[in-house]
Symmetry: C2
Subunit: 309 residues, 2 copies
């Protein structure tokens, strides 16, 4: 299968509009030893014709335009994008759906609770269902593997295993919904597998790593993992206030309980950090943190990467 990294930054992108941390300032001056990044977005295809998006980020319009694989091919209004798999309701993971609203057929996979969060609590998503042949919403049942198919039902040679990772719904979820939504439907890790058994995991938001998750990750050939924050108190140090990485649902990279240490034993998968926050010091490719992750066998996802698996 063909995997395309359309974007690799956390919510807000890099640089972020209202941030003048060291990274953002140096990027705007044109002297940062590292790369700018749009918000995290993966596309995958088994046949190089039908593509599935993992999430739909707010930068999707620009990301599609710089990716010839995703340009329309047949007919006046068409797209190779056959569907979207949603793993959460986070804004940086779902807002792009509203950019795909031009009356285009599209399969959207999401858990029933995330569908209710989007469609019942946010009237804007009605724009995806103005005509009959538009978004086809399809349930994801946590832990049940399903085949990816276009809205016309065409199989495309890929299946998806959705792993419940957390019971945390987005901060915009109304309080009374907490009791109505299923805890296991809040946030998923996605494992995509092709017909030859090649597997990759996409997990841009992971709050903790237990032995069960380690075992699953060891069964993959490629891992895109939560690279949001280097340190647990990274945002607080920079802003003077705010939440820890843990409070935001992200395991930090460094420290004894961080991902670098917790995932050190993985042998099989190629390991790539994605969903990297603008404040993360490892973005600086001349810095100690970038060296450290490289020595530990990790890479930083970059916008535009093509990976054949």
């Amino acid at each position: 299968m063909q995997i395309k990294v359309l974007g690799s930054a956390a919510g807000g992108g890099f640089p972020q509009w209202n941030c003048s941390c060291r990274n953002c300032t140096l990027v705007r001056k044109g002297i940062f030893p590292g790369k700018v990044r749009t918000q995290a977005q993966i596309a995958v295809s088994a046949d190089n014709r039908s593509w599935f998006l993992l999430g739909a980020c707010p930068d999707l319009r620009a990301q599609i335009e710089v990716s010839p694989e995703l340009h329309p091919r047949d007919g006046l209004r068409q797209s190779p994008i056959a569907g979207v798999v949603l793993s959460s309701g986070d804004l940086d993971h779902v807002l792009g759906l509203l950019l795909l609203r031009e009356l285009q057929p599209l399969r959207v996979y999401a858990t029933p609770s995330i569908q209710r969060l989007l469609r019942e609590d946010n009237s804007m998503f009605a724009m995806l269902n103005r005509v009959s042949d538009q978004a086809l919403w399809t349930d994801i049942i946590p832990a049940e593997t399903f085949a990816l198919a276009s809205s016309a039902g065409d199989s495309c040679g890929l299946k998806c295993e959705p792993l419940p990772l957390s019971s945390r719904y987005p901060a915009y979820t109304r309080r009374r919904r907490a009791a109505e939504f299923a805890p296991c439907e809040a946030l998923l890790g996605l494992i995509i597998e092709d017909k030859s058994g090649n597997r990759f995991a996409y997990m841009p938001a992971v709050s903790q790593v237990d032995d069960g998750l380690l075992q699953v990750l060891e069964s993959t050939d490629l891992l895109f993992f939560d690279g949001t924050f280097w340190q647990d108190d990274e945002l607080i140090k920079i802003q003077g206030s705010g939440q820890t990485a843990g409070e935001m649902g992200h395991i930090p990279i460094s420290s004894e309980r961080g991902s670098l240490h917790r995932l050190a034993a993985l042998r099989r998968p190629r390991k790539i950090f994605i969903h990297i926050n603008n404040t993360n010091p490892m973005l600086d490719e001349s810095g100690a943190q970038f060296s450290e992750i490289q020595k530990a066998g990790w890479e930083l996802a970059e916008d535009g990467w093509n990976i054949q698996l």
Copy 2:
């Protein structure tokens, strides 16, 4: 005052992700005799320090990054963007608000009905009010001129006259809301005036031009006007189905009842088409339609234009 055109296309931008009309195809081949455009967005400032956005389009993140005036200047988290004036609830006019959600103080002006449409019917907008010092929602009363001010109350030397233009709410508005929302609060034209009396109008969606509107436009120095469609049946001809320009709330440019004819008598303002759909033949600067609007004294707005008034 300083006016910046951050984007000049209609919803979907140019090119549009799922479109392979002649314009979009030639642009992607790199041989189109005209310019690519992000979605319509204006920023204005009287002091070159505090900027106000007219609408908040989905391309705002990229538009801010290519505009040094809008980069943070003081402190680690800051923005020169003091506020946003909403003239409708259309997705291509409001989605960008959700990109400005990083706990940043911001004044948001909107009619009470548009505020209810966004905040009561779309839980995502709660992201703009997670902390006390964030979005300050401020009522627009149709036809009542108001001074633009930051959320801290600092005046910035600009006032805004909001003209009710239509009773049409966005297509995603729930049916039962039709009776609850005030017809005059659906869609506004905005006239911005500085302390020297310089005035410009921003009207990216106008369904018809009557003598009252003509008189108002003649009182301005600069007019950004609805340039969405050249012909009333433009989309139907290209897609084979769909709505007319009129049904979508846009007066076409050509024909006896089109804007070129209806606004031909205007003498005072510099006249600029904005919110140009990807299908509009006038985007082709080698074509007859582009010549025609130039001969009639009109310009096509381009991304990145700076205008001093």
